[in-house]
Amino acid sequence: MLIKTTTRAALIAALALTTAAAWPRVASAETVLRIGMTAADIPRTLGQPDQGFEGNRFTGLTMYDALTGWDLSSADKPSVVIPGLATEWKVDDADKTKWTFKLRPGVTFHDGSPFNADAVVWNVEKVLKQDAPQFDPSQVGATATRMPTLVSAKKIDDMTVELTTSEPDSFLPINLTNLFMASPAKWQAFYEKAEGADAKAKTQAAWTAFAKNASGTGPWKMSGFTPRERLELVKNANYWDKARVPKTDKMVLLPMPEANARTAALLSGQVDWVEAPAPDALPEIKQRGFKLYTNEQPHVWPWQFSRIEGSPWNDIRVRKAANLCVDREGLRDGLLGGLMVPATGTFEPGHPWRGKPTFEIKYDKPAAQKLMQEAGFGPNKKLAVKIQTSTSGSGQMQPLPMNEYLQQALAECYFDVQLDVIEWNTLFSNWRRGVKDPSANGSNATNVTYAAMDPYFALVRFLQSSMAPPVSNNWGFINNPKFDEMVKRARQTFDPAARDAALAELHAASVDDAAFLYVAHDVGPRAMSPKVTGVVQPKSWFIDFSLVSMQ
């Protein structure tokens, strides 16, 4: 009996000890989210990422904040600009090129140094002031073009800065989402230790060191970095926005440029989340209980028309006919397996910049054929058009099959479409050269997809006549005084609601003019393990990883 009781007591004690020992481990078990990116390399980590908006998504908005940010909290509403490290801003009533930004108090960089007006000035000068020690040409390209009118920054007091633009520009707060705040104190420490033959070499060495051990104010902190292989981020428990303190302890980002490799990594449990899984594997992904997220992205897959003298697209009936002749739902449900949203403009209904176009873009073949006949074309007199496109490319979705689909569709509306297929980087470079350049190779439309996050990228650079090459991407030399006037009005309207209304008018006018052949919006497909919860995929290029939990 005594032995039995002793044994029993020993067992209970052992159980209690085991439970007690296990409890803290369970409570403190680290949660890790592993993500397979489509990028072939970790986007730059030094504050201004490369690789477009995928770069901003993974190494920009995670580790850094900008003065303004994007609302990524809803999957249904359009993602709009909200305060970030600036709490409020205002344009000067007397001089519309001067803006005052009030900064968020109590924010610190990951290294503990304070975020203040000096830090803002320092970060503006890293890309705009060529004689500043921190000026880095490699960060200029991806940044300066996204805030084309910003020229300088001045400290008013510790928590106030004045930003100056080259012309009155109400888009500035939107553009500033692209300027991420890196820690001047951390960089300075690297600069002082850096070795180099001259100041330029020292600057470069300091930025290289900073990229390996970065410091921003964002919800995630850098904890490990192997170039081209992995970036490890840990949660910033002291993040200033308590609602956005990450719910996962650690996030590991892995470059996996090959779609099948990413999908295999997900299905074999090596990662928890993949961007853009292989389309052919979607049924298996769903069948195995993995979750698939999609949402309309601010992205447009278009044909951008030539509008120079002699272009067949100068006739609005032809432009409208092309827009009415494409069965976009058929393209979505057939070729693309549901992974697109039919485009009826740059912005879809519900977006503040959509407006009320009178020309309804839809599939109406008889109406398209009628328009073409009115323009003088028919089954025996087809209109020859030539489109420059690429075999692949960032945001291009499936350019060849999609263009072949359009080729067949438009043939029924008396178009004879010829494709000029070239390599992606070449197509991208040609975009800037314009239709008059020999690189257009006789094409009268180009097929370069574009991001539509802000008004400049979505509308202005294509529609304003002064944006024609070599200045920007008005490839087809659109020259419409009405558009020019509308752009000017939108840029000089500083009340946000009125500015949005002006942009909506501009967008509606561009749809009514059938300025492009609008085909598709990408949906940013991503697949993930059932263990991943709390995902909100907004109508944006970005996503808030802070909301994600691991079960």
Binding site: D50, R146, E423
Partner: protein
Amino acid sequence: MLAYIARRIVYVIPIVISVALVCFLLVHITPGDPLVAVLPADASQELAAQLRAAYGFDRPLPVQFGLWLLRALHGDLGNSIATGRPVLAEVMRAVGNTVTLAIAAAIIGFTMGILLGLIAGYFRETWIDKVATSFAIAGVSVPHYWLGMVLVIIFSVQLNWLPAVGAGPGGSAAWAWDWAHLQYLVLPAITTSVIPMGIVTRTVRALTGDILSQDFVEALRAKGLHETGVFRHVIKNAAPTALAVMGLQLGYMLGGSILIETVFSWPGSGFLLNSAIFQRDLPLLQGTILILALFFVFLNLLVDIAQAAIDPRIKRG
């Protein structure tokens, strides 16, 4: 022998300069903007000119080549346009990973190739020969990226035995020679090994068959030499050619495979080249091609010297 080695080294110098020139010109004459990685298509003309000057792309090509070659001779291959990191460090890290993969693949491919080749050669025109030859033909015929994907589907996705991608649980920087890491090497190494395995099998089979039909083998057997002794003579006679073929195959493997390394996200030189090509990162592209070409040149040199050591007749040639 020393004179032979010196002569071979002198031959290498013009080859190296030509390789440097060709790889510089090839990446510069391709269409597109060299600053596409850091310069968006809507950048202003002023900004484009400013960056072009900052990166030295505004200078004439011969000047750019001269400066690049001069720096390369001092061990400086410049910095990557896309990442800003030194090219040499990037390339050497990637090459190290490719060497790991190539050696693993060589061990599998050469061992299997020699074994199958000898068996096929010894049992020529029998069913054993046909089976071994079928393996060899399959090895050189199967697209290796396809094989890689099939292996991943079977062993990673369906059976969950081996990892699908990557170079270890903590990446190649934390590489260790234990099973936790080696399991990441298995599938890419098998995939990489199939072509060398096929080529070595066919070479060794042909050599073994030829040597066995030569008069001296008859003479050895007539003198009563045991078959093991004959086998030793066969191997010794087949070795120089087989070694040359294996050297070339190792060279190809050390060059990395863009397809295999991309399929397995193996961070080697092929993966690096893929990234450099798609980002149009000229300094990285030039540096990677140059280092890989130099590897190949020096590997050939080593093979030539090894051949000469094994077969003294080659020195006279």
